[in-house]
């Protein structure tokens, strides 16, 4: 067991060198009454240029809420109650998306940040040919483009995602689910956005198609250099595609680290439990544990750590302080990773007058 010294403990990780999207202290409520549910509480997340960032967590942990709030697409009764979403364009100018007016926001959408929705079958209008739908997106932002040029661009885009350009004249029902999903990806790339948000883009597809789509995204990312926020429940898929993974729980990010680090040496009990919920392909057989219980009711969160009730390593302090993201208390860790767990934060434990507990062996693998 490694007992790290509590001294010399940087509180915040160094920001990514070239961020394209910085979400700072974003708070979101659901409900307009005097008793709203605080779904996101001061979530901060940085997406580096060209990076694939995976967002994982159980259902109802706020992954999609985070992505939709950052793009201001949350439907009523969603309400952003604070924070900043800084977008840095190619020339280095930063804009706060939460301060844009409607016209600016509409112009920024798709151009700067594009979204691939979950159900491709519902995102395409069944009565128009797909070529026209892609062209519409292009012409909405670039009115000077003629329909012919837009269609040519659409053909190139289809080619990019591996669909024959003569499919431009197809209706959505004439394509398979995987092809429709690719059309959506092509459409999202139409204006050469810098950030692509993918909300469970492969959930409805079979494993073979998932693999193709994921490879396609990785290849396009290498070629075009955009950044991706990839939302999914499927942690094993994330480990393949993502550079970095942020694990969310009950509306907060509990661990943020490089993909392989999360996989090989999780620092948060929840990440560790998530990884023990599916079988590894290689290595010795191990028992699948799963996570007992279910995520907490966000409308009545107590003062402590939201995961404490389900956590095998909870101790007295966990019911008193909600941990913040800190550098893990394990020597030799990547300085860019962070974890929100009191086992790694002796200073916060002492602040409430409790005795810190050491980091358990499961959470300090090296």
């Amino acid at each position: 067991m490694t007992i790290a010294s509590p001294i010399g403990h940087p509180q915040r990780l160094a920001p990514a060198s070239d961020p394209v999207l910085e979400i700072k202290n974003l708070s979101v409520d659901y409900g307009y009454d005097d008793d709203p549910v605080h779904v996101l509480r001061q979530v901060s997340l940085t997406l580096g240029r060209g990076e694939v960032l995976g967002l994982a967590g159980e259902s109802g942990c706020g992954k999609s809420t985070l992505a939709y709030a950052a793009t201001r697409l949350l439907p009523p009764p969603g309400l952003i109650t604070g924070g900043e979403v800084l977008f840095t364009d190619r020339s280095g100018v930063k804009t706060d998306l939460l301060r844009l007016n409607d016209t600016q926001l509409r112009a920024s959408r798709w151009q700067d940040m594009a979204i691939v929705f979950q159900g491709a079958m519902n995102s395409l209008n069944p009565v128009y040919r797909i070529g026209r739908q892609i062209a519409d997106g292009i012409r909405a932002h670039e009115p000077k483009t003629s329909q012919k040029e837009a269609l040519e661009r659409a053909a190139e885009l289809l080619d990019l995602v591996g669909i024959a350009p003569d499919r431009l004249r197809s209706y959505p029902h004439e394509l398979s689910g995987g092809m429709r999903q690719r059309v959506m990806i092509a459409m999202a790339l139409a204006l050469d956005p810098q950030v692509l948000i993918m909300d469970e883009p492969t959930t409805a597809l079979d494993v073979v198609m998932q693999r193709q789509i994921v490879e396609q995204i990785a290849e396009l990312r290498d070629r075009l250099g955009f950044s991706v926020i990839f939302i999914t429940h499927d942690v094993s898929l994330l480990i393949e595609i993502a550079d970095r993974i942020a694990i969310m729980y009950a509306g907060e990010i509990v661990e943020d680290a490089a993909a392989l680090d999360v996989y090989n040496k999780p620092r948060h009990p929840y990440s560790s439990a998530l990884l023990h919920s599916f079988p590894p392909l290689r290595g010795p057989r191990r028992e699948l544990i799963g996570i007992p219980g279910s995520p907490p009711d966000l409308s009545r969160l107590g003062a402590g750590c939201p995961f404490a009730d389900r956590c095998a390593f909870a101790f007295d302090a966990c019911s008193k302080v909600n941990p913040e993201l800190v550098f893990p208390n394990v020597p030799g860790d990547d300085p860019r990773r962070s974890v929100a767990c009191l086992r790694h934060d002796p200073a916060a434990v002492r602040a409430v007058g409790e005795e810190p507990m050491p980091v358990p062996a499961e959470l300090s693998l090296t």
Binding site: Y30, Y32, D33, A69, L73, G82, L98, Q118, G119, D297
Partner: protein
Amino acid sequence: MTIDTSIVEEGQELDKPSQAPMTGVIAAARGPRRGKPRKFLFLRNSKAVAGMVILGFFLLIAIIGPWIAPYDPSARSDDILQPPSWEHWFGTTHLGQDVFSQILVGTRGVIVVGFVAGILATAIGVIVGVTAGYVGGLGDETLSVLANVFLVIPQLPLIIIIAGQLPTVGGVTVAVVIAITGWAWGARVLRAQTLSLRRRDFVEAARANGERTWRIITAEILPNLTAIIASGFVGTVAFAVLSLITLSFIGIGNTGEWNWGTVLYQAQSQLALQRGAWWWFVPAGLCIALLGMSLTLINFGIDEFVNPRLRSTGLNAKSLRKRGIRPRIGFTPVVREAEETRA
């Protein structure tokens, strides 16, 4: 009839799976929260409350009107064409009848016809519309043709003809005639919405569950149609009231039975406007306008309340305005209210 088609669209909006984050967060958050009574939520909507108060006032008058009327509405007196005074609050007619008493007594006829016609027309509309939408095929075709025929029939002339053929024309007869001619519109709307509901996953799931058709219609589909049915009902009541008044105004039906339309009919035939007797027609006109307004307000209230997504908005409209929040789809409002404690 005022049925807001946005209900229909909003319904389809809900259907799309996970376009927007339909996370478990909402579901988890809507448990039994605190001990607050949540029963009379509908009455927290200010529009609905205003409408209900006005309607309640007229219902009360409809019940007690004949008893509290100071005079017999048909009794003649020597005070001919008097302006409002303490003896005659709304003045008198050319025969010395008390207009205030006529209005009080006439309220019952208006309300009874309005509600009887509304209930009947809504019942026919729901049965025909939902059946047509749900069964499909030949049944749908037949019922749709029937509804279309009734839609293109000019209603008022038909009412006049039927009312003219009947030997005795009481209030209920007029109500039935209005219901028979006025149900088709609601049936069309309900059929369209049922067609869309029928294919949704939760109905398919109910079918796969082995639920009986009757239960699917009553437990799965009808609750989703509540807003349309309710606003259709309110609209039909308003339509029936106006039809009755129109009929009475042009002198069809039993002129011996008092209602606001008969008051207007007499005022018109006795040249009240030309004689400057404004007190003769203004009260009846105002009552009609107020009743129509109350029904419309209730309609808005129903719309905002029955749709769970609009509910939070509708119930908190005032505080939302104060906080500068305009709820819209596609542009999430931003307020800077949360305290920022983290670095």
